[in-house]
């Protein structure tokens, strides 16, 4: 199909989808980020494939439990800085219908897409279907952690479905794999695609032992125990198997000499085949070093020059709610999304890194709706024991705020520092702010739907933008 040809079915589905999105925004029901895709997809199931084929630079797809929103945002920003028009499911709506909606948003009613390149964040379960439909020429596999297991069954199921997908890729596809994750290495070992391994070679920021949230360190191939020459984050590190001798492959892109500057930003050196590149990453925490590394590897795969990459990452601002700073009634508030054990552990590591303990009042907001995971047992895999020392009071709210408060008690936080508040987020937020002295700092750590609800409250008060406006 050439770009000028007219496909009536495609056009009908684009128009139908667009109307749905407008209607939803008009009645004020939210961003309308996924429903238009559902409508358009029903009219023409080949829509994504047809629109993707029109993008001159093709597309990159990012999958993984943690960091996919931030990584795709970094990639999209780099491409924009490289003067490419980007088609991106930026609001984090990462199922097939969300991606369809993003493509629709940049298509003409005649079924032509306005853009140079697609940047797709893929939900773990939707990844195989999205790869089939979009046929991206670069795919990033970031990591696989325990997430909302009640949504997916078990990790094994995802790993197996991914393995099937990568076994069918063509050699022209570039597969960028976080080699610090042994599961991702094992499932891509026999791929026909061109595999590029990325990871950390870092001397300082290491863990002593596997955190509780990490899965058993067992070789995915032979079942023997896995050992680490260096362990960085959850089960990610320089691993080797004590049974079959598998080990982390050599890295085409390695991040090292990492300097973490608390909850502000970080610096690192990326060593690639074309030399070493020192860069600042505008968002904090070791997990964002991984995200920045992946985005740099993607950008290089598309031939973007290093100076565009480094300047974009330096100025990078994080995705909504992932980590965000707001001023409210003369208080400095840092908002950081917590959605699974590994992500939560890294946020706690970041908040306590510089002072060794929690110093500022903090409110944790836990919901148990579908998008949060209906099972709150994951809170028991987070190492809240880190908060037992320190002076910051801990407040809880959300539908399962009571579970959170109880978790803190069993982590050894003194009862005098635990304050369960109303499960109504807006009321709890106001009560919390009253407990933060004027001019002081505070942290808000919400689960996914709690974050959306909280941002709605803040948007209604004119403090932050609604997320689909970003």
């Amino acid at each position: 199909m050439t770009k000028s040809s007219f496909d009536p079915r495609l056009a009908l589905s684009v128009v139908g989808g667009k109307l749905t999105g407008t209607a939803i925004r008009l009645v004020g029901r939210g961003g309308g980020t996924a429903a238009p895709g559902l409508v358009a997809d029903k009219v023409d199931t080949g829509l994504l494939t047809k629109l993707s084929a029109q993008l001159p630079q093709g597309a990159v797809l990012v999958a993984g439990t943690n960091g996919k929103t931030t990584t795709t945002r970094m990639i999209a920003d780099i491409f924009q800085a490289n003067s490419w028009q980007v088609v991106h499911n930026r609001s984090g709506s990462n199922l097939v219908r969300g991606v369809v909606a993003a493509y629709l948003g940049q298509s003409t009613p005649g079924g032509h897409i306005r853009g140079d390149i697609g940047v797709i964040e893929a939900d773990e379960a939707a990844m195989p279907e999205l790869v089939r439909r979009i046929q991206p020429q670069v795919i990033v596999l970031n990591n696989l952690f325990r997430d909302q297991l009640d949504r997916y069954g078990e990790l094994d199921t995802i790993a197996k479905s991914w393995q099937k997908v990568v076994a069918q890729l063509s050699p022209e596809v570039t597969l960028i794999v976080n080699a610090d994750d042994q599961t991702l290495v094992a499932l891509t070992d026999n791929t026909p695609a061109t595999r590029i391994c990325i990871g950390l070679n870092e001397a300082h920021h290491r863990l002593e032992s596997l955190p509780h949230a990490a899965d058993a360190a067992v070789c995915r191939v032979c079942g023997a125990d896995l050992e680490y020459r260096a362990l960085y984050l959850s089960h990610l590190g320089e691993w080797y198997c004590t049974g079959c001798g598998r080990e982390r492959p050599s890295l085409a892109f390695a991040a090292g000499d990492i300097a973490l500057h608390g909850d502000r930003n970080s610096e690192m050196t990326v060593t690639a085949t074309d030399g070493a590149h020192r860069l600042t990453v505008g968002v904090p925490g070791l997990y964002n070093a991984y995200n920045a590394l992946a985005s740099a590897a993607v950008a290089r795969a598309f031939g973007v020059p290093w100076d565009v990459i480094t300047s974009t990452l330096t100025g990078f601002q994080s995705a909504f709610g992932r980590i965000e700073r707001i001023q409210y009634q003369n208080r400095s508030i840092t908002l950081a999304l917590v959605k699974n054990p590994t992500g939560f552990n890294e946020v706690l590591r970041m908040l306590t890194a510089e002072t060794g303990a929690l110093r500022h009042p903090t409110i944790i907001c836990i919901n148990d709706l579908d998008a949060d995971g209906r099972d709150v047992s994951w809170l028991w895999d987070v190492d809240f024991e880190l908060l037992a020392e320190g002076t910051g009071d801990l407040f809880t709210t959300g539908i399962r705020g009571a579970d959170m408060a109880n978790r803190l008690k069993y982590a050894g936080v003194p009862l005098t520092r635990i304050h369960p508040l109303s499960d109504d987020l807006a009321a709890a937020f106001d009560a919390f702010i009253q407990q933060v002295p004027e001019g002081a700092s505070a942290y808000i750590l919400p689960s996914y739907t709690a974050m959306l609800r909280l941002r709605k409250t803040l948007a209604d008060r004119g403090i932050v933008q609604e997320f689909w406006e970003q």
């Binding site: 209906r374 028991w380 009571a402």
Partner: protein, 244 residues
């Protein structure tokens, strides 16, 4: 004299899913808060059951891990656990651990995984997955709350007593209204959550049973301030009532 208690955590490295570790934390903390010194010994694959375990804990796992564990539990090791239960040791098992404490688990494909027969019960892979908040009423423990996430179906046989009757949720098999099993001081169930932190009365029963296993004379446990525990308990109870 400081009292001591030893918790044996079976396959903690391999079978610890959906926050099951919280149960070990709850046992340890509630012992400590009463001045009882609680030691945790992990018992992994290839390691024998040490003497003197007062409370066993065995959590759930993913399929791959359950196969390796089933092999390991056959023979002397399973026998040692069964004997300990007969002598009055306390035991809590959840999901995968519970299944292997019955006569075994028949997966969809592959051979039957043999169990050790502490409970007169048999488990098979089912067609759907039961996921959600659960409330049960138990004759001994009154209300218990947890979160189930299993496709295995367990059927109690003979005189095997259920832990309780399902009020909200699916329980052992979604058919007969039972949840879990209890034999002497051993409990098996499908309740993740984690279970013990928000059911402190059950935690204390396990601790009391463990202490009676070790010492001939044991006073009743000192009551604790359980306000946060029961706040979480009520919270889970109301979620199981309102979920669709």
């Amino acid at each position: 004299m400081t009292m001591q208690i030893t918790i044996g955590w079976l396959y903690g490295a391999k079978m610890n899913i959906y926050g099951d570790r919280g149960n070990v934390v709850a046992l340890q903390q509630r012992a400590r808060w009463r001045g009882v010194d609680a030691q945790v010994q992990e018992i992994g694959i290839g390691e024998p059951v040490p003497a003197g375990i007062d409370i066993f804990f065995w959590g759930g796992g993913q399929d791959q891990e359950q196969v390796a564990v089933a092999k390991d539990i056959a023979g002397a090791k399973g026998e040692a656990i069964r004997e300990a239960v007969e002598r009055g040791a306390a035991l809590l098992s959840i999901c995968g651990g519970y299944q292997l404490l019955g006569h075994g688990y028949q997966p969809h494909d592959g051979e039957m995984l043999g169990g050790i027969g502490v409970f007169d019960a048999i488990s098979t892979a089912g067609p759907t997955r039961f996921i959600g908040n659960v409330t049960i009423e138990s004759p001994r423990f009154n209300t218990l709350v947890g979160f189930e996430n299993h496709s295995g179906l367990t059927t109690l046989q003979g005189d095997c007593q259920p832990l309780g009757k399902v009020v909200h949720g699916h329980g052992n098999n979604g058919r007969d209204g039972t949840e879990g099993a209890i034999y002497k001081n051993a409990i098996g169930c499908y309740l993740h959550g984690a279970l013990l932190p928000k059911n402190p009365h059950l935690t204390d029963w396990l601790l009391q049973s463990g202490l009676r296993h070790r010492y001939t004379e044991v006073d009743d446990l000192t009551p604790l301030d359980d306000a946060l525990e029961f706040l979480a308990h009520e919270n889970a109870l109301s979620r199981s009532r309102t979920q669709t």
